[in-house]
């Protein structure tokens, strides 16, 4: 469904609820993509003589504990956090869609098993399990070649987060599949002898666009939060690569000297996640007529 169609169908006061978070996210995305080039790469260098400097013309937000420009680090960290959030959310959405489709279409035992798995993933204490998963040795998994890459921590965090972030999409897709399965066009396709895979991919999947869009938007926020806490705990994006989460790792030690180091990355995470959640909520109300009663 195109963006214009969504807006055309939406009451004016609801449009504002969609546009404002979309605008916030667009500005953030633009800033992290273009910002670093405007500031120049010099601020990324460690400069121990100017540690924890106060804001100045050269460093609009001051410098961090290693003398790097804080604004530049925030923008570069935003690149990583947003990219990881979007890529992991898409991966999780793909996994969730596949599970939800099969579960809803097949029904019976397959459905019961997959839904039990989904409930299990939702109910388990995920963070302790993720801590263990992050500590796994890639060499023992036969992935030693990946571990040597510079971006190994990025691949790891995307996989980890996608592994636990698929449940929302899976449940919504399953529910929608259940109701679509009973409709005439699907039964006609069955009668004409279409194979289950074809029915799922060609006939059902295109009709699932709106629940998938809503669930993915909502899970981007959730996933950015998860990335930030794992990176903060030293299990996600690894320094020197910046992410909003790992920029807060050392902030606790310097909080009395330089509270701004602890303040900004967290505020950016908060704004981003609030915007994603409002956008997802707004989309849900715009796309799902049943949700409008509220």
């Amino acid at each position: 469904m195109s963006a214009e169609l969504v807006l055309a169908r939406t009451a004016p006061w609801r449009r504002k609820r969609l546009l404002l978070p979309a605008l916030v996210l667009a500005v953030l995305a633009l800033a992290v993509v273009l910002g670093p080039a405007l500031i120049g790469p010099a601020g990324a260098l460690v400069d121990l003589r100017h540690r924890l400097a106060l804001p100045s013309l050269a460093h609009p937000l001051g410098t961090d504990a290693l003398g790097r420009d804080l604004l530049l680090r925030l923008l570069l960290g935003g690149r990583v956090s947003l990219l990881v959030g979007i890529v992991a959310a898409l991966a999780a959405a793909g996994l969730g869609t596949a599970i939800g489709l099969v579960s809803g279409y097949r029904g019976g035992r397959v459905d019961a098993l997959l839904m039990r798995l989904t409930d299990g993933v939702i109910a388990l204490p995920l963070l302790p399990l993720l801590v263990v998963l992050a500590a796994l040795d890639p060499a023992k998994l036969g992935l030693g070649f990946l571990a040597r890459s510079e971006d190994a921590s990025l691949y790891r965090i995307v996989v980890l987060v996608a592994l636990v972030g698929w449940t929302t999409v899976a449940r919504l897709v399953r529910g929608a599949t259940l109701s679509l399965k009973a409709q005439e066009f699907v039964r006609a396709a069955v009668a004409m002898g279409a194979r289950p895979l074809r029915i799922m991919v060609v006939h059902i999947l295109p009709n699932l666009a709106s629940p998938i869009i809503v669930a993915t938007t909502l899970s981007v926020g959730e996933i950015i939060l998860l990335e930030s806490v794992l990176s903060f705990l030293g299990l996600g994006v690894a320094p020197p690569l910046a992410s909003w989460g790992n920029m807060l790792t050392g902030a606790q030690e310097t909080i009395a000297l330089a509270p701004q180091l602890a303040l900004y990355p967290g505020l950016l995470i908060l704004f981003t996640v609030v915007a994603c959640n409002f956008l997802g909520d707004g989309l849900q109300q715009a796309l799902d007529p049943r949700a409008r009663r509220e």
Binding site: P125, V131, V132, G221, S228, V273, F278
Partner: protein, 317 residues
């Protein structure tokens, strides 16, 4: 009802057995093994010694065989020795478990205790200014990273105002009740606020849904007072989804406890698991994770029982 509980207990034991195998296998995939750790701390060990030790501890045997041996010992209450704390893993966990129970219990009660009245009040006039504020508050608490919330609370109440301790569980040399409570304020506040947003949204949504039902109009038509309509008729029905979600949130509450405990150096189960994994304390990590999983399963069972108690239709089926 008894049949229902027995059935769920059997199911729970099966899930726990499967999870223990999964966790056991995962811990085995962590970097290094206990013998590597021994070699690292004692450079005089030769390769032959290492092989002999591996055979002695059974590390040369296949995974399933090792798991069964471990499970047999675990069923007898022997979870092995903690490398970091030089004590049996179970002894290390016991006091931590109590600390976590205090933290999580207080936060759970406070979060629900604040979410219920706020959500009920907001549901009376959906779309009003007050409702909008409550909704915004819920979104803010859902979206705030809990570790950052902890940092901000430390910044304001410990660093700037100097009112409360920034971490730990008690001041050295002072183990009084007041001192313990002071150390609890910030961790409990963090976990409460971080887990409140979800409850608030569910209470509000469930109450709005029930307040639109016909039996509410009937109750009002019969002249029931507003409080009786809200609490006696609407809340009782709205509680069903709320209880389910609240109990299912035990896992995420535990995840929140891990973050909170790490931030405030609070000696609980979450921090224990985190430290054990980072410190290659395999036995302790395994026992801790399993205990956390078991606690979650028990909480879910509790939810099912509470659910059956609130909605009499469930237990009879």
């Amino acid at each position: 009802m008894t049949r229902f509980i027995v059935l769920r207990l059997a199911q729970m034991a099966a899930v726990l057995a499967v999870m223990s195998l999964v966790i056991y296998a995962l811990i085995g995939l962590m970097a290094g093994d206990p013998i590597d750790v021994m070699i690292a701390s004692n450079p005089h060990l030769t390769a032959a010694d290492a092989a002999r030790l591996k055979a002695l501890y059974g590390l040369d045997r296949p995974l399933l065989e090792r798991y069964l041996a471990w499970a047999q010992a675990a069923l007898h209450g022997d979870f092995g020795y903690s490398r970091l704390y030089m004590k049996p893993a179970f002894e290390v966990m016991a006091p931590r478990l109590a600390n976590t129970a205090i933290l999580m219990g207080a936060s759970f009660v406070l979060a629900l205790g604040m979410a219920l009245p706020l959500g009920i009040a907001a549901s009376r006039k959906p779309g009003s200014a007050f409702d909008g504020c409550v909704n915004l508050l819920a979104f803010a608490f859902i979206s705030v990273p809990s570790f950052w919330l902890a940092l901000m609370l430390i910044l304001v109440f410990a660093v700037s105002l100097g009112l409360l301790p920034a971490g730990g569980i008690a001041t050295v040399g002072d183990g009084g009740v007041l001192d313990r409570l002071q150390h609890l304020v910030l961790p409990v506040a963090t976990l409460t606020l971080a887990s409140m947003g979800g409850h608030l949204r569910y209470v509000r949504a469930a109450m709005i849904e029930t307040l639109g039902q016909d039996y509410i109009r009937t109750a009002r038509a019969k002249g029931a007072g507003e409080l009786r309509v809200l609490l006696g008729h609407a809340l009782r029905n709205a509680l069903i989804p709320v209880i389910t979600v609240a109990a299912l949130s035990f896992g995420s509450l535990f995840s929140g406890a891990l973050v909170t405990e790490t931030m405030f150096a609070y000696p609980g189960m979450g921090k224990l698991i985190y430290d054990a994994v980072l410190g290659n304390d395999y036995n302790l990590a395994l026992a801790g994770l399993l205990l956390a999983t078991a606690m979650t399963l028990v909480a879910n069972l509790g939810a099912d029982i509470a659910y059956a108690a609130v909605d009499p239709r469930i237990g009879q089926r």
